[in-house]
Amino acid sequence: MRLLATHSSRLMSFIRIITMNRHNDAEDVFQRTCIILWQKFSDFDGENFFAWACGIARYEMLKLRDSQKRVKVFDDETIEYLSSDACMVAQDVCDRRTALSKCLSELPIADRELIRRRYYDELSVKEIAEHVGRSTYAIYRELSRIHGSLSRCIERTLAEEV
């Protein structure tokens, strides 16, 4: 229980990533994972609890997906690839949030406005496109560029702090 409490926030971050931030899926997987971790704790080799938990969470996520009829963006093999990186990203979740805030504040004003509209005002890409009189394709392209720029900035910031 103590180990789980220590790693629960990171574990949830990992699960949110591999479920593509689908809230319901993430919480279901988290619940199931906690149960399995508790039941199978005797199998834990004592090396790296978080990596072990991520492995179980990934398995539970794949099981949940199998039970759903939803179109899968990532196939099972890709999830394997992503899980490894997600586990590393989730380890640093607090630092990443702080870095993201800093990077957002450094964005050009127009870029920050676009992010604000999409995630704070919760406007859809289509609605943003209508407001600014541009195509949805152009908005996707802009968002992609900004997110890429944020990712680079976060990596840079984290590297600086090491």
């Binding site: 926030s9 619940q31 039941q39 992503l82 607090c94 004003i109 990712s151």
Partner: protein, 614 residues
């Protein structure tokens, strides 16, 4: 800066697209192809992690972190940001400019601080991920956004400009147990003017707004959560979704208007109406005076609809036959805020208490008087030792004839918990009986039995929970249940199944501001919920009730106001057996009330869930 890799750019674009729409097979193939590369996998994960962080912007707050980053960000000038916004989003900017121009109380953040508040909240989200209870605050439909308010804009330019010139910002004057999902940077507080263009999203509770003070159009609006209202640029309120009442007050000499999805409602001076608006239909009820509904699409066949006192109309907006109208009698009962909390008195006398005593409760809290010095307590009139009810907070008391009831949750949270633990040994059957009068539709704990030991994160495990629920935006675990039900959870402490797998919900809704008789019961392998003398939910559940648990009334954790019940409660009785249907119905009748119609009951073959809880 490193030039952007076209593959990674394409990957991000496709993942972004997947958040909004279905990808084609070719898109999915490309996503997977790129994401399986080392750089692609890293990029995809980084992007989704950003989604997680950005979608948490309006969640829990961590004051220390917020303050720290707030100080760092406040240095940035707002004027440049506002300029950029003007260039790219004229519609949204109109509202923002109007907000900036309007007067705000000094207690609010300054403009430049507000501008960055959401960034600060983002930082706070690193606390959120540590939470087991993941709060959700997602839009349920496009109605929740400012942009969608265009749907309610009426084409009456002369009236609009006139109203705007005379308008006084609506002001929030009272709140009862309000939970907001705000589109602004701060939670609405009493005394706040509602700025032009602003949308208020009330998740739970009742909020009262004062309109047009001293303009001859004085009116009180009561919004009943869940509901969304929009202060339109023409100075009128628009009910985007939900229910509200509108009452002309004082020396009203002029009409008041509110927009709903079907059109514009204008009420005469001193009139009092109820309004309902959702995606498919709108309702107008006239309780006093008169009102006119002017549909948005006036034509030869569709005219103004005039209603007098006692009349109501429902307008279906989108049917194969076009707009349809149904006229019926106005019903105050459909509007929670139109009922007084004193509505529906619960007159109980000694005969009622004697009837309960014949069923031999182990715990019986009548709330008639307090005993002791400090702490005060409600005496247990049942037979179990040490089960007096200690008071948490400051409950108030309401008298109905000879009967006194406890009022908790408003204005401040209050609760009762037993001095000792109960039962002394595990029980295969038990009954919890009480009278409840929720003041509003909300998610509140009526009574629970919890492990006395607190978990490390401050929560307590429960073996039994009885609560009223509401429409869930925040607790996704209940988001798929019907709103405004009574929920009964029975499970073993430390059960590995999630709580959601061990609950039942009443088939029918509970009534706000009305007394209801509730019994939660375990008998043999059955878990049953009774409402007003009829079974309204039942499932198989062989798990016994844990021994030595803590009885708590009015909230879910003894040392937190989380999930507090708002309303009145009386005659809590706990039995170590399943009281019979005859007993339940006899208790109701002893209160001078009628047992509900048997048609509301869930018969054995309609049992909603049959999965064993083990």
């Amino acid at each position: 800066m490193t030039p952007d890799n076209p593959n990674l750019s394409e990957l991000r674009g496709l993942i972004l697209k997947s958040q909004q729409e279905l990808l084609t097979k070719e898109d999915i193939r490309r996503v997977n192809e790129i994401a399986r590369t080392e750089a692609g996998s890293r990029e995809a994960v980084a992007l989704i992690d950003q989604f997680c962080a950005l979608s948490d912007h309006n969640s829990l707050e961590s004051p220390a972190i917020v303050k720290e980053v707030f100080e760092a960000l406040r240095e940035q000038p707002e004027s440049t940001a506002a300029g950029a916004a003007t260039a790219s989003a004229p519609h949204v900017e109109v509202a923002r400019k109007e907000r900036a121009a309007s007067h705000r109380p000094t207690t609010r953040n300054s403009g430049e601080n507000r501008h960055y508040a959401w960034l600060l909240a983002l930082v706070a989200s690193n606390i959120l991920v540590a939470s087991f209870a993941w709060s959700l605050a997602k839009s349920q439909s496009g109605f929740d956004r400012v942009a969608s308010s265009d749907l309610l804009q009426t084409n009456t330019p002369d009236r609009d400009s006139d109203a705007a010139s005379q308008s006084v910002a609506p002001q929030l004057v009272s709140m009862t147990a309000c939970v907001w999902r705000s589109t602004r940077e701060t939670t609405p507080t009493i005394g706040d003017p509602i700025d032009s263009g602003e949308v208020l999203n009330l998740v739970e509770g009742i909020a009262e707004l004062r309109l047009g003070e001293n303009t001859g159009r004085d009116a009180l609006v009561r919004i009943e959560g869940p509901a969304s209202v929009h202060n339109q640029s023409n100075g009128e309120l628009g009910l985007l979704r939900g229910s509200m009442t509108l009452k002309g007050i004082g020396a009203n000499t002029e009409d008041n208007s509110v927009s709903i999805a079907a059109g514009r409602v204008t009420i005469g001076p001193q009139s009092f109406v109820g309004l309902v608006s959702d995606d498919t239909s709108s309702e107008l009820h006239v309780f006093r005076g008169n009102a006119v509904l002017t549909p948005h699409d006036l034509n030869d066949e569709l005219h103004e609809i005039r209603l007098e006192e006692g009349e109501a109309v429902r307008v279906f907006q989108q049917t194969d036959e076009g707009i349809q109208l149904v006229r019926f009698d106005a019903s105050v009962g459909n509007f929670v805020s139109a009922r007084s909390p004193n509505f529906d008195p619960l007159n109980l006398d000694d005969e009622y208490a004697n009837t309960i005593q014949q069923s031999a409760p182990k715990v019986y809290w009548r709330f008639e008087q307090l005993k002791g010095d400090f702490p005060f307590y409600v005496e247990n009139e049942g037979t179990a030792e040490g089960m007096n009810a200690l008071i948490i907070g400051n409950p108030t008391w309401r008298q109905y004839g000879e009967n006194r009831v406890a009022e908790i949750g408003t204005p401040t949270a209050a609760a009762f918990h037993a001095e000792e633990q109960w039962p002394p040994s595990a029980l295969d059957e038990y009954s919890i009986e009480l009278w409840v009068k929720p003041q509003l539709y909300h998610h509140g704990e009526l009574l629970c039995l919890h492990d006395p030991l607190v978990l490390k994160d401050g929560r307590y495990q429960h073996t039994m929970m009885l609560e009223v629920t509401a429409k869930h935006y925040f607790t996704h675990r209940l988001s798929e249940s019907e709103p405004n039900r009574i929920r009964f959870v029975h499970r073993a402490l430390g059960e590995t199944q999630p709580i959601s797998a061990t609950n039942i919900f009443s088939e029918t809704t509970y009534e706000a501001r009305m007394w209801q008789h509730v019994v939660a019961q375990k008998k043999d392998n059955s878990q049953r919920l009774w409402l007003n003398g009829q079974i309204v939910a039942e499932r198989q559940n062989p798990v016994p009730l844990n021994a030595n648990v803590q009885l708590l009334v009015g909230r879910v954790y003894p040392d937190s106001e989380y999930r507090r019940f708002v309303g009145q409660i009386d005659e809590v009785a706990v039995y170590d057996r399943a009281i019979t249907k005859d007993e339940i119905q006899r208790h109701i009748e002893a209160a001078g009330r009628s047992v509900a119609d048997a048609s509301e009951s869930v018969s054995e073959d309609q049992t909603p869930e049959t999965t064993p809880a083990t």
